[in-house]
């Protein structure tokens, strides 16, 4: 979702009772000035809401694509239509491969997406497979650190001199980090469900696996396109 700077996550384990790794997964660095720190978090929360809305939009795009079925390769300047046409081309390529064992240009072009999808799945595995660590730093000093186990248990360490305002900052950071993590899983869910629905609609046995990279590319490209329309906020984000 690009809302946070994500540091290296430990290897996925899905172990419920596992001890926490020390490497933080979510690292929130805020300036010393309280108002500015609050504004940054508020901006990030706004962006996250935009991102969630975009996720619903892309899910809707996939659903309408499945509902409408074949679409014409009509020339259009609408970027989203271009991405839909690309996805349909991949569907055609998968059909050709599944029924005729024939390779086509479309499938060759999906090979890069394949690697990117695999990398994305690995990232999801890592982020959800073990402790989520959230660290909030203000003015160079860590004010709060929360470890959330796979089972959802919380351990929070506060700097003993942290002010009420600083504690609020960390609580917001924890909330946004965990929501972001869940949203990342949601992206994977949308891709998997989309590939399944399209494969079923196109009656291509086994093609859901073939289509995963293409659907992933579609979701990624549409999200990137939609992100361009976000309003310019005072505290810009790393997208």
């Amino acid at each position: 979702m690009g809302v946070w700077q994500i540091e290296a996550a430990p290897v996925a384990s899905f172990a419920a009772g596992e001890g926490g790794a020390t490497t933080p997964a979510w690292h929130v660095v805020l300036p010393e000035t309280l108002a500015e720190a609050q504004a940054i978090l508020a901006d990030r929360a706004s962006c996250f809401q935009f991102a969630l809305a975009d996720l619903e939009r892309v899910k809707g795009e996939l659903e309408s694509l499945v509902a409408e079925g074949e679409i014409a390769y009509a020339a259009t300047s609408d970027k989203l239509s271009v991405y839909r046409a690309e996805l349909l081309k991949a569907v055609h390529a998968a059909q050709a491969y599944s029924f005729e064992q024939r390779l086509s240009v479309g499938l060759l072009e999906d090979r890069q997406s394949y690697a990117q999808w695999v990398a994305f799945v690995e990232q999801v595995e890592k982020l959800v497979g073990s402790y989520a660590h959230v660290e909030t730093v203000r003015g160079g000093r860590m004010i709060g650190r929360t470890a959330v186990s796979w089972m959802g248990d919380f351990d929070t360490w506060w700097r003993s001199t942290a002010t009420v305002e600083e504690r609020d900052l960390h609580q917001q950071a924890v909330h946004l980090a965990l929501e972001s993590r869940t949203a990342l899983v949601r992206v994977a869910t949308i891709v998997v469900a989309g590939a399944f629905e399209i494969a079923a609609k196109a009656s291509i046995p086994g093609a859901q696996v073939l289509l995963l990279p293409a659907v992933w590319r579609f979701v990624r490209d549409v999200l990137a396109e939609l992100r361009k329309s976000w309003p310019q906020l005072q505290h810009g984000l790393q997208a």
């Binding site: 060759l108 695999v118 595995e125 089972m151 360490w157 924890v174 998997v192 990137a224």
Partner: protein, 636 residues
């Protein structure tokens, strides 16, 4: 009395030599069963006659002419992420090499079982001088030696300038990439200082020979030949672990470090093998007579000893030590020796020390030249001819003159080509019944293995970033923290709608070429999805069993930064605790301050409890949706 051959390498678990000294007769008997690779023989003989590297008219120091390429394994699923982490370096090389820049990945990458010739043939190149229009002269292998074997690297290295990087994390790849870019874009200018470090342990013939016949004379020769350089040497008593540690990252660490001594070896499966094999045994070791049993870590310098604040950016090192660069899985030499092991490691690996030096988070070395497998005294001593340092001397001269490391080590490749062709002819003659002098055979064989096994860990196109002679360079900088975004943001490949393209002849050929690769990839993708789904389903099942309670703890700590860094003495006070049972029971410990409830902390703790409850519900609902989708998908 027969002469003995000495091998470097100390077994850290037993304290004995990795290989005992042996006579040429014993070694010759072990070699007699060696197989001859006739294809390689022909090539090596040709190389010996023609002294090939790049074709005529190409300046090997100019990447625009010589070209630069990166080789990934065809089936390495991490390629995209690693490529992303290396993007700064790749962009720089692309800019420098222009149209002679290549990326070999996917079906174009190294395929399992590829030989040098099969790989090159796929890309239009055959044996002979390097034509950078076909395949670049500089080739960086990215990946572990189990996936892209050392044998492929060694073969390719005969004609091309080849290096390898292999790290555990994306951050390490990104740090290395940034270090090279910083060094090559003018931010780093190192003083012209070189250090020669030679262990010389009394009673240990191997280090006595390497100190007296390699390190000392090399330091003298370099000092005389390079007046612009300050050459210092630490040999014998001064070659301690502490000294080597300061040379490899101390405040005034030199630009170039040459170190010779025993490399640490460990039995296959020993807990110290992966982290410490190839570490440098220093003068702290009292020697084979005065120390018995396992070698303690105090005696050798390993990756663990390289400090977090080490000053390494821009430097290079040359380690003459067993396993200094890496270890193969199979030991073909020992296989032919009675009692020898067939497998010397669980898998082939790059030694931890050079990896740590290259990927240091504050900026790393640019390259380490070292040895895969064991290093031999025949490398610098030759039958009846005595001390032979020309190859080492020539390589060091080029490095100190600012040549690329890949070009500098070509002398080793020439030497390998020469010795290997002589050796294989000799073995062929033995097969036809010729009587061969055992000492000659043993010498050629050890020298052949030794010369072949020198490798570059790092980009072969790097060169020392040196200050001008007489210039007072600025302090060595550090690299900025390298954030690694885990989500790859590849360029969208958007084609015009309605463009029902017909494959071009080249694309059609590529389709046939990659057909097997695609099927493998999809099969692999299906398997990885199945594995992920299975793990997820299992974990959700376990979660259902353990979800009966939710615990929320709140602590306070005086210095949270120190606690995270795990420095000692940080008291962690549990201030509030809540356990929520599914049946509605709740166990609560509230925080106190001066005998009363600490209302501020209690409010925050209560907020955290609510957050935990909401997060758990939402997270498991989403994970369950994903698992259901995956399961449904796999059933179709």
């Amino acid at each position: 009395m027969e002469e003995y051959l000495y091998f470097n390498g100390i077994n850290g678990a037993s304290g004995d030599y990795e290989l005992p000294p042996m006579t040429p007769r014993q070694l010759a008997a072990a070699i007699a069963g060696e197989e001859v690779d006739r294809g390689l023989l022909n090539e090596l003989q040709q190389r010996r006659l023609a002294h090939w590297a790049v074709k005529g008219g190409v300046d090997p120091g100019d990447l625009a002419q010589a070209g630069w390429g990166v080789i990934f394994a065809a089936k390495d699923e991490r390629v995209q992420a690693i490529r992303e982490a290396l993007s700064e370096l790749l962009a720089l090389r692309q800019q420098q090499a222009g149209e002679r820049y290549r990326e070999y990945s996917g079906a174009d990458g190294y395929r399992p079982g590829d030989s040098k010739n099969s790989f090159l043939a796929r890309h239009g190149a055959g044996p002979g001088p390097v034509d950078p229009d076909l395949v670049p002269y500089y080739l960086l292998i990215v990946g572990d030696p189990e996936t892209i074997p050392y044998r492929f690297q060694n073969q390719l290295d005969v004609q091309y300038a080849v290096g390898r990087i292999c790290f555990d994390t994306l951050e390490e790849y990104a740090c290395y990439a940034r270090s090279v870019v910083e060094a090559e874009t003018g931010r780093v200018a190192l003083p012209r200082r070189a250090a020669f470090f030679g262990v010389r342990t009394p009673g240990d013939r191997a280090t006595e020979l390497s100190a007296d016949h390699m390190v000392k004379p090399l330091a003298q020769k370099m000092s005389a030949a390079q007046p612009d350089w300050q050459v210092q040497s630490w040999v014998g008593e001064s070659a301690t672990k502490g000294r080597l540690n300061s040379l490899l990252g101390g405040e005034n660490a030199p630009a170039l470090v040459y170190a010779a001594g025993h490399g640490m070896g460990f039995p296959n499966g020993d807990r110290r093998q992966l982290p410490h094999q190839g570490a440098i045994l220093c003068q702290d070791w009292p020697g084979p007579e005065r120390h018995r049993g396992p070698i303690p870590e105090d005696f050798y310098l390993s990756a663990d000893d390289i400090a977090g604040d080490a000053h390494l950016l821009g430097s290079m090192a040359f380690f003459f030590a067993c396993y200094g660069a890496g270890t193969p899985r199979l030991d073909e030499f020992a296989r032919r020796i009675p009692g020898g092991r067939a497998e010397i490691a669980p898998y082939a690996f790059v030694s931890r020390l050079p990896r740590r030096l290259l990927a240091h988070p504050r900026g790393g070395m640019l390259a380490v030249i070292g040895h895969v497998e064991r290093a031999w005294s025949y490398s610098f001593l030759w039958e009846r001819a005595g001390e032979q340092l020309t190859v080492f001397e020539s390589t060091l001269r080029r490095l100190m003159a600012g040549a690329t490391v890949g070009w500098a080590v070509e002398y080793f490749n020439d030497r390998y080509a020469e010795i290997a062709s002589d050796l294989t002819v000799l073995i062929e003659e033995m097969e036809f019944g010729a009587k061969v002098d055992e000492l000659t055979l043993a010498g050629l064989w050890t020298a052949n293995n030794d010369a072949r096994a020198y490798v570059i860990i790092g980009d072969p196109a790097v060169r020392l970033p040196l200050a001008s002679p007489g210039e007072e360079p600025p302090p060595r900088p550090e690299i900025a923290h390298v954030p690694v975004l885990s989500i790859p943001e590849g360029e969208a490949q958007v084609a015009s709608p309605g463009e029902a393209r017909v494959a071009s002849p080249a694309e059609a050929a590529e389709m046939v070429e990659v057909a097997f690769g695609l099927r493998d990839e999809w099969e692999s993708l299906g398997n990885s999805i199945k594995k992920f789904t299975s793990q997820l389903a299992t974990a959700l099942g376990q979660a259902a069993e353990q979800i009966a309670t939710l615990e929320v703890k709140t602590y306070s700590v005086d210095d949270l930064d120190a606690m995270v860094k795990d420095t000692a003495g940080q008291a962690r006070r549990l201030r509030a605790y809540t356990r929520v049972d599914f049946d509605g029971d709740m166990e609560v410990y509230v925080p106190e301050r001066s005998g009363e409830v600490d209302q501020v902390l209690w409010r925050i703790h209560a907020d955290m409890v609510r957050e935990a409850q909401a997060n758990r519900a939402q997270f498991f609902r989403t994970m369950a949706e994903l698992a259901a989708g995956l399961l449904k998908s796999l059933k179709l």
